[in-house]
C-alpha cells in the first residue's frame, strides 16, 4: 500500500512525477483549465476533490488515456449526469493540436458568419426618413447584437411583416425621435420570437460562458454534443414528438416517482423521534418485578403525505397538455394518496378516472372527452376557490400542493389572496411554471404568485430532473 503524503507535498510530487520541471506548469495549467471548464458546465467541484484528482492521476498510468479519464471521472464527477458531462468535456478538451486548430478555425468561421448576418440585419433595418424640413436621413433601429441575431433567424415571411410594419411606422410618424418608440415595439416582438424559436446560444444545459475564447470554444463543443445526445431531456416539452413520447413518458414517470419519494422523505424526517412508551414499558416489566428491564418505545406513525395536484389545461397551456397528463399519470401511479384536478374556466376532479389503473391512452381519452375544460380561458381564482370550498377536507397540514400552470389567469389579485389562504392550511405549495424563467420578471402574475409558493421553471425534462435533484433539497 502506498503512503499518502501530506497534501502539499503530494501535489508537488505529482507535478514532479508527471512532467520534467521545465514543463511543469503546462500540465498544471491544463488541469486547472479543465476543472474550470467543468465548473462552468455546472459540475460542482471542491478544492479537496481537485487534490484527489491529482493524487488519482499520480496513481494511475498516465500514458493510458482510459485510466486517466477514469481517474478524473471517479474523483470529479459524482452523479450519472455529471459523468456524461465530464465524458464530453474530456473528449473536447484533451485533443491533439491538429484537432484543436481545426476547431478554432471552424469556430472563427462561425463567428464571422454571425457577424455578417448581423451586418445584414443592420442594412435591412435601415430606413430613409424624411423629417420636417423634407431632408431625408438614415435611421436605423438600435438593437443589441443578440436581438439582431434573433431577427436573422426569423422565417422569411415574418421578417417581411416586421419590415413592412417598420416602414409604416417610420413613414407615418413625423415626430422628432421615432427610433426609441419603434425600437421598443420591435424589441417586444423579438422577445416573443426568441422563446418561440428557442433561441439557442444560452438555452439549457445552463452554461456560463467565460468570455475567454479558448475556453468558450470547448464549452460550446460540449454543449453541442450534449444537446445532440440528450436531446429529449433538454427539449421543450411541447415539442416532443409522438415517436419520442413513450421514452419521454417513461422519463416523466421516473421523475415523478422521484418527486413522490422526495416529498415523503422531506416530510416525515422531522417526525421521527422516538418516545418512551411508559404504559407498555411498565406492563411488560411487571414480570421482572418492576425492574425496567425492557424498554418499549412508541414511534410516531409515519404519515404518508397527501398530494394535491392542480393542473392547468387552458388554451395557453394546450401545448403542454401532453406533459401535464403524463405527469399526473406518472405521479398517480406511484403514490396512493393523491388527488388530481384539472382546471381552466372551471375545475374538474379526475382522481377517480386515474385511479382505475388502466392504460394511459384509455384514461386520457376518457378524461378529455368528458371534460369541457380543455383549451378554454384560465380562471385560477375560480378553481382554487372551488377546491377550497368543495374539497376542504383535502387541505390539511399533511398536504403537498403541486400546481402546474403558466400563471396566466384572470383575476390574478383574487387568486393570489386565495393562494395565500391555502398556503396557511397546507404543508407546502410547489408551482411548476412552464413559462421560461427569462420572462418571469416581465410577467406580473409570476411575481404575485411566487410570494406564496415555491415556484420552479419547468418546460423541459431537464428542468423537472433538476427540480428533483437540486432545488427540492434547498
Amino acid at each position: 500500500m502506498k503512503n499518502v503524503n501530506p497534501e502539499g507535498e503530494t501535489l508537488n510530487l505529482a507535478m514532479d512525477a508527471i512532467n520534467p520541471p521545465g514543463e511543469r506548469e503546462y500540465i498544471e495549467n491544463n488541469l486547472t483549465r479543465f476543472m474550470h471548464i467543468l465548473r462552468h458546465l455546472g459540475v460542482r467541484i471542491s478544492s479537496s476533490e481537485t487534490i484527489d484528482a491529482v493524487k488519482a492521476l499520480l496513481a494511475v498510468d498516465m500514458m493510458d488515456r482510459r485510466q486517466v479519464k477514469t481517474a478524473l471521472k471517479s474523483t470529479l464527477a459524482k452523479s450519472p449526469e455529471d459523468r456524461v458531462i465530464l465524458d464530453k468535456a474530456f473528449e473536447a478538451f484533451f485533443i491533439t493540436p491538429e484537432q484543436k486548430a481545426e476547431r478554432t478555425a471552424r469556430n472563427r468561421e462561425l463567428r464571422e458568419k454571425e457577424a455578417q448576418e448581423i451586418q445584414a440585419v443592420d442594412d435591412e433595418l435601415k430606413y430613409e426618413l424624411a423629417d420636417e424640413d423634407q431632408q431625408s436621413r438614415d435611421v436605423s433601429v438600435p438593437l443589441t447584437a443578440e436581438e439582431k441575431k434573433i431577427y436573422s433567424r426569423l422565417p422569411e415571411d415574418k421578417k417581411q411583416k416586421l419590415k413592412s410594419y417598420l416602414k409604416k411606422q417610420f413613414q407615418s410618424n413625423p415626430v422628432n425621435n421615432p427610433e426609441q418608440l419603434i425600437t421598443n415595439m420591435i424589441r417586444s416582438s423579438l422577445n416573443y420570437w426568441k422563446y418561440y424559436l428557442k433561441f439557442s446560444g444560452d438555452g439549457p444545459p445552463e452554461v456560463d460562458y467565460t468570455g475567454d475564447e479558448g475556453t468558450d470554444e470547448v464549452l460550446r463543443d460540449v454543449v453541442e454534443k450534449l444537446r445532440a445526445d440528450e436531446q429529449l431531456l433538454y427539449q421543450d416539452i411541447q415539442k416532443i414528438t409522438e415517436t419520442d413520447m413513450p421514452t419521454a413518458a417513461a422519463l416523466i414517470a421516473k421523475l415523478s416517482r422521484k418527486l413522490a419519494t422526495r416529498i415523503s422523505r422531506r416530510y416525515h424526517r422531522s417526525k421521527k423521534r422516538e418516545r418512551l412508551d411508559i404504559r407498555r414499558t411498565i406492563r411488560y416489566n411487571i414480570r421482572f418485578g418492576g425492574t425496567m428491564f425492557n424498554l418499549k418505545y412508541k414511534t410516531k406513525k409515519v404519515q404518508k403525505p397527501r398530494i394535491l395536484l392542480i393542473c392547468d389545461v387552458s388554451g395557453s397551456m394546450a401545448k403542454y397538455a401532453g406533459f401535464v397528463l403524463q405527469f399526473i399519470y406518472g405521479l398517480s401511479s406511484v403514490t396512493e394518496n393523491i388527488e388530481s384536478f384539472i382546471f381552466s374556466e372551471t375545475v374538474a376532479r379526475i382522481t377517480e378516472d386515474i385511479a382505475k389503473s388502466r392504460d394511459f391512452d384509455v384514461t386520457m381519452a376518457e378524461i378529455i372527452n368528458r371534460s369541457e375544460d380543455w383549451g378554454r380561458g384560465t380562471d385560477f381564482n375560480r378553481a382554487i376557490t372551488a377546491i377550497g370550498d368543495d374539497y376542504k377536507h383535502l387541505l390539511s397540514k399533511e398536504t403537498f400542493v403541486i400546481i402546474v400552470s403558466d400563471t396566466r389567469t384572470l383575476n390574478v389579485e383574487k387568486a393570489v389572496l386565495r393562494l395565500r389562504e391555502m398556503k396557511k392550511k397546507v404543508k407546502d405549495i410547489i408551482w411548476l411554471n412552464t413559462l421560461p424563467k427569462k420572462v418571469w420578471p416581465d410577467t406580473k402574475s409570476v411575481a404575485a404568485f411566487r410570494r406564496h409558493c415555491r415556484m420552479f421553471e419547468c418546460n423541459t425534462l431537464a428542468h423537472l430532473d433538476n427540480i428533483m435533484r437540486v432545488q427540492m433539497l434547498r
Partner: protein, 305 residues
Amino acid sequence: MELTVDRLKTGLEEQGYIADQETVVTAYLALTLEKPLLVEGPPGVGKTEIAKVLARVFDTELIRLQCYEGLDENKALYEWNYQKQLIKIQLSQVNREGQCQTVEDSLFSAEYLLERPLLKAIRSDKRPVLLIDEIDKVDQEFEAFLFEVLSDFQVSIPEWGTLKSKQIPIVVLTSNAERELSDGLKRRCVYLYLDYPTPDKELRIITAKVPETGPRLSLEVAKAVGYIREKLELRKKPSIAETIDWARALVALDADRLTPEVVSITQNIIFKNKDDIDTFRRDMGPEELVALVNENGAVKPGQRG
C-alpha cells in the same frame, strides 16, 4: 505486496468478479487514496458484490451496515447493554459486596458494550472491509454523522474517551440513487457508477458463474437480456442475478439454444411483475426476441447510459 491495477483485476477475477477496466481502476484508486468507494447504479448490477469480493481478495473481514429509514447511531455505532447493566446493579445490591465505585466502573467496561458495525470496523485489528449498503435510505442527519465518522475514523464514547482506528478500513458505500446524497458525503468519496453490463461482459459473467451453459446458449442469453433491457420500457429491468438464474433454468430444461417455446416457459424468471410480462408479450414477444438474437451474430445492442 504493492497493489497495482493489474493485480487487483486478477484478484477480482480469481474471486469470480468480472469487472471492466473502469471498475477496476476506480476501486484501485479508492484503495490507494484510502477514500471510501461510493458505488451507484440500478439494482442488481453487482454493487454490494464489490465489497464482498474485496473482502475475499484481501482475505479480511466484511463488516456490513445495512441502512434503512430510521437507522440511528445506536444501531450503527454502539449501544450499552442496558439489560446486562441492570442485572449487574441488582446483583450487587443483593450481595452488597464490592464497593459502589467498582460497580460503576465495571458497568461501562467492554463487557457491557454492544459493538455495532461502525465501531467494530474502527476497533478491528486487521484492515476490514466496511460495507455501508443502500446509504440513500438513511435520513440526512445520519448521513451527516456518517461522513464525520468516515473522514476521521474516530469516535468518542463519553465513558471511554476517543477511539481512533488502527488503520483506515476499506469502505464501500452503495446507493440506488433513490435520493441525491449530500455534497459533503460525495466529496469524501471516490465515485463509481455501475451500469448494466454490456453483452460481452455479461457473457463472461454467465460463463464464469454457470459454466455448464454451452457457449452458444450463453451468448444467446447475454444478447437476449441486452435486447430486453434496451428495447423494452420495463418497470424493473432484469438484473445480473436474474440473467444467471435464467441461464441455470435453461440448463435445467436441457436447452442448448433459445427457442420461442423455451423463452415462453421461462419468462417468469426474467420478468418479475405482471406489467413487465405484458409489456414483453405486447411489444416484443418470444418469437421476435429469438429472431433478434439469431439475426446477426456480430451485432451487439448498445448500452444505455
